[in-house]
């Protein structure tokens, strides 16, 4: 156990690609925490998807032993937090477990929207913040301008920012020294007091069960202790305690100020609650930590197996993934169009994509993903309110008084030249401009936007209209009433539930038109003409007609052709699996997601 004043606990705040993972790798490497031969890129990102997308999903921690220039040995605990907006709440929780942050900013790119969102959380958590300018070896680096920007936009002193190149290792020693000199040690901590530890995060390991990352406030934690989770009331025997270096390393005990893991044969992540206070069963601490509210899914969509025979496999995959991810919710759903599947809730679109990719890749199940939707609050005439997770379940408007939808505050940083396009995009998506300021040649716009206009393809559109130069972040700001209606799609007069969506009444015609035009391209011609309609209630607001196929026949078919033609029919039988039947009409699976993409 280390004395409090020789412990430094910190996190790194950065925009994606600004070098957070590389800096973490260098800190680990330069302190010989990992043998040279075990070194690999992005040590802390353990999942394939994390590595591939360059994102962190779960919090990771690493303990670094560092002998400072004053000759004294320090223990540095880094908590690596998710950087993406979907996991903002996870970030804020991790921030509570440490006392300081390194703010890493790319010296050529400057401050981005994501940097802002995360650094404000660090400020909210009372962190001491050390600005670090990365990539200063690049020709395009403008350290002075970026320092100015940090001071202007974030409002913290950047005069003694550390200049580094995480890639070449330049300045890494200065970073380590700054951590020791400029970040505070844990403020309180009584080794002899009853155990009080914060459950920072928990993850599932297929061999060990649930691993809890803990920060000790008071007391000590060691193997064999019987612990109690104060919120959930669960009691467990501790099998192992240790620290990450970054490999799991058992230690005799964890003391005040330290960060490490415990393993106590907990079966699933759902049994633990992040933010809970861990104490000893025998000698409990008197006051629990304030705790966190559990993160709530905000984006919902249906996941259906392409091959309906794989429904049970999908259930199995979803249950396994949920073991490690308490923020991901699911319930069974039946769609007339798509058969059996699950309605799943996610923290955001990235979370949705990550889960979907993992099901497809790790469990080898091809999926149909229905349109993402948000939770609407439906106020009924009788004064009650219900939450609507699936537009298909929208009650009859006759018994609905009004509908409220979730709104977000979106912060977008964009080079001047694309500002016009960004404003237009936000305006098109029913945004209300709240702020527009400049930091150098970049504009920062703040919009109040409906979340449902953002969940589907807002980010894609933003990237495309700004050629990738805009950065975007958001936070939920609550619910507000608007004129929202359910738009149904009818193909050959049959409603297709999987294509139902909630839209603003003023935009319904436009969305409806775009949708039926898209579907006309996506549905192959049939033997009869097919009306494709968008409707609100009983009223058709857009209509296209897919004309009938006029000719599909083999001109010559004699004795020598029979085998070949029969085999062709067999092949078409297989191809039919990729279609979904609606009455007499077959709709290709790919249409369900493509139909919802808007080009404007």
């Amino acid at each position: 156990m280390t004395e409090l004043d020789h412990i430094r606990n910190f996190s790194i705040v950065a925009h994606i690609d600004h070098g957070k993972s590389t800096l973490a790798d260098r800190l680990i490497q330069s302190t010989n925490t990992v043998a040279e031969r075990d070194m690999k890129e992005q040590l802390l990102d353990s999942m394939d998807i994390e590595r591939e997308r360059g994102i962190t999903i779960k919090a990771n921690t690493v303990r670094i032993d560092y002998t400072a220039q004053n000759g004294e040995a320090y223990v540095l605990n880094l908590i690596d937090t998710p950087g993406h907006v979907d996991f903002a709440y996870e970030v804020s929780r991790s921030m509570q477990a440490v006392e300081g942050s390194l703010l890493v900013v790319d010296a050529s790119q400057g401050v981005e929207a994501q940097t802002l969102a995360n650094v404000y959380q660090a400020i909210d958590a009372d962190h001491e913040i050390v600005p670090v300018l990365n990539k200063i070896d690049l020709p395009a680096a403008e350290p002075e301008r970026v320092c100015e920007q940090i001071e202007d936009v974030i409002g913290i002193d950047a005069s003694d920012a550390v200049m580094i190149s995480a890639k070449t290792g330049l300045g890494i020693a200065d970073v380590l020294e700054a951590i020791v000199q400029r970040l505070p040690a844990p403020k309180t901590g009584d080794r002899d007091a009853p155990l009080k530890a914060m459950l920072v995060d928990s993850k599932y390991d297929q061999y060990l069960g649930v691993i809890c990352i803990v920060r000790i406030i008071d007391g000590t934690l060691k193997k064999g202790d019987r612990i109690r989770m104060m919120k959930t009331g669960g009691t467990y025997d501790v099998d192992d305690v240790g620290v990450y270096r970054p490999a799991m390393t058992t230690v005799a005990a964890l003391g005040p100020g330290e960060i490490g893991f415990l393993n106590a044969s907990i079966k699933q992540v759902r049994d633990t609650r992040v933010g809970d206070t861990i104490t000893h069963e025998k000698r409990q601490c008197t006051q629990a930590l304030p705790g966190f509210k559990p993160s709530q899914p905000v984006v919902f969509c249906g996941l259906f197996p392409v091959d309906s025979a794989e429904f049970e496999d999908l259930r199995d995959a979803i249950e396994k993934l949920a073991l490690n991810d308490a923020s991901f919710s699911y319930e069974m759903e039946t769609s007339a169009a798509l058969g059996f599947g699950f309605r799943c809730g996610f923290l955001g679109l990235l979370h949705l994509e990550v889960i979907r990719d993992r099901i497809e890749r790790e469990y080898d199940i091809e999926l149909i993903t229905t349109a993402p939707s948000v939770i609407y609050h439906i106020y009924m005439r009788d004064g009650t309110m219900t939450e609507l997770h699936n537009p298909a379940d929208m009650p009859d408007m006759a018994i609905v008084d009004h509908v409220e939808e979730p709104r977000i505050k979106a912060t977008i940083l964009v080079p001047d030249e694309y500002l016009g396009d960004v404003l237009k995009l936000c305006q098109d998506r029913r945004g209300i401009q709240e702020d527009l300021t400049y930091a150098g040649t970049r504009a920062m716009v703040v919009y109040d936007l409906p979340l449902n206009e953002v969940v589907f393809d807002f980010y894609d559109r933003l990237k495309s209209v700004t050629k990738g130069y805009a950065s975007f972040d958001y936070q939920m700001i609550g619910y507000r009433e608007d004129y929202l209606v359910k738009m149904q799609v009818l193909v050959n007069d049959e409603p297709v539930d999987a294509l139902s969506m909630m839209v603003h009444r003023d935009r319904a015609e436009m969305r409806g038109r775009a949708m039926v035009e898209k579907l006309k391209e996506l549905i192959p011609r049939h033997m009869f003409k097919i009306p494709i309609q968008a409707a609100i209630g009983g009223r058709v607001i857009a209509r296209e007609t897919l004309s009938a196929m006029r000719k599909d026949v083999t001109a010559k078919c004699y004795g020598g052709d029979a085998s070949r033609k029969r085999k062709l029919l067999d092949k078409q039988k297989a191809g039919k699996k990729k279609m979904r039947q609606f009455g007499k009409v077959e709709i290709p699976q790919s249409a369900f997601i493509s139909a919802l993409k808007m080009d404007s």
């Binding site: 049939h526 033997m527 009869f528 196929m549 006029r550 000719k551 599909d552 026949v553 083999t554 001109a555 010559k556 078919c557 004699y558 004795g559 020598g560 029979a562 085998s563 033609k565 029969r566 029919l569 078409q572 039988k573 039919k576 007499k584």
Partner: protein, 382 residues
């Protein structure tokens, strides 16, 4: 055992003077053909099949190709002689030979008649010279008409083929050409819409973005309806997707294919269907002419593979072939093979929408249904 649908023999002559760019048939261009050697192989195969199918009556023989009108009349004579010795022939025995309408071929027509051929099917393909050139044909319209006259004088039954929905062909052009054809026709026409097949010169050109001016599907469909209408008016209704005839003048041989009958396939790449007590068999032969020839000479059989067709697959094949006919298909025959009937839901709406006529035991595609037969089959079978 005489199976349902009749019993025929198809004989493949794989050689042509030149290869047509739209043709995906098994045809080859060769300068020297030892017709005696081919004769020995054909006769040996006939004898072999005679053993297997002893006791059956043979209804038809069809000389296809390739260009069978390149065969010496002596060769045709020898083959038919062997056939007569091998099987009892039915009363309405039909022997068709596919002929190219060139002047050289016409010179052999009398020989074919003397050998026993009683029906000629002539590949005229188009009634204007520029289009014949585009289709890669070696003959001219004048030559074709002369050859056709020769055939008409020698044979009671002469059919000819035309290809339509050609490049730059408008509906009106086809109407005129078809009227001309109907004026010439005796009792049978095969009218095929041009199909671009993979692996042909047209297929390659089409894939590269060439072959412009092909009528769009809607126009091609309109041409199909024009064809139905004009042929019907001329007393030669369509009895199959692409075949038109006066009553009783249908190709009996081709009817065997479409009615799910048995047929022997002799020659390179020829397919056969033979039913015996052990089931229904699909036979195939080696595709390459020389390979087939040497195989027959050295092993005594030209059959490269025999496959048992399961009853369920027989059902599919039967429906797929028989629905091409105006007379349609027997539901009980399909059901007996398939073990289950056709899907009632699909039958009902296909009937309601006018694509099928459905009676207690038969279904048939209507005039509206036949141009989209593949889609009907997908509904019923896939």
């Amino acid at each position: 055992m005489q199976p349902e649908g009749g019993f025929g023999l198809y004989l493949h002559w794989p050689f042509c003077q030149s290869k047509c760019p739209y043709c995906d048939f098994n045809s080859h261009v060769s300068a020297h053909i030892d017709q005696d050697r081919w004769q020995r192989a054909y006769l040996s195969e006939i004898r072999r099949y005679g053993e297997i199918t002893r006791g059956r009556h043979l209804d038809t023989v069809f000389f296809g190709g390739g260009t069978p009108s390149l065969m010496n009349p002596d060769l045709v004579h020898a083959i038919l002689e062997e056939i007569r010795l091998t099987w009892p022939l039915s009363n309405s025995f039909e022997v068709t030979l596919e002929a190219n309408p060139g002047s050289v071929e016409a010179g052999r027509f009398a020989g074919y008649r003397d050998a026993g051929v009683n029906r000629i099917s002539m590949g005229i393909q188009a009634l204007n010279d520029p289009d014949l050139k585009r289709l890669g044909r070696l003959h001219s319209v004048a030559e074709a008409l002369a050859a056709y006259d020769t055939a008409r004088n020698l044979f009671d039954r002469v059919s000819f083929d035309l290809i339509y929905a050609r490049q730059d062909q408008r509906i009106e052009d086809w109407r005129r050409e078809l009227n001309q054809a109907l004026d010439m026709a005796i009792d049978h026409l095969s009218l095929y819409q041009l199909t671009i097949e993979d692996g042909t010169a047209f297929g390659d050109r089409h894939a590269r973005g060439g072959l412009r001016g092909l009528p769009p599907d809607d126009d091609a469909a309109a041409m199909y309806f024009v064809t139905q209408e004009l042929c019907e008016a001329a007393g030669m209704g369509g009895y199959e997707i692409s075949n038109y005839a006066r009553d009783m003048a249908e190709s009996r041989h081709n009817l065997i294919y479409w009615r799910g009958g048995d047929y022997i396939g002799i020659g390179p790449g020829a397919h056969g269907r033979l039913t015996d007590a052990s089931g229904r068999h699909a036979t195939e032969t080696a595709l390459a002419p020389l390979t087939w020839l040497i195989q027959v000479e050295t092993t005594g059989t030209g059959t490269a593979s025999t496959e048992v067709i399961t009853p369920a697959d027989q059902a599919v094949e039967y429906l797929m072939m028989s629905l091409r006919l105006r007379e349609g298909s027997s539901r009980s025959r399909f059901e007996a093979l398939n073990g289950a009937g056709l899907p009632e839901g699909a039958l009902a709406w296909l009937q309601d929408d006018g694509f099928l006529t459905v009676t207690k035991d038969r279904i048939a595609a209507t005039d509206q249904g036949r141009p989209v037969l593949n889609a009907i089959l997908r509904e019923l079978l896939a």
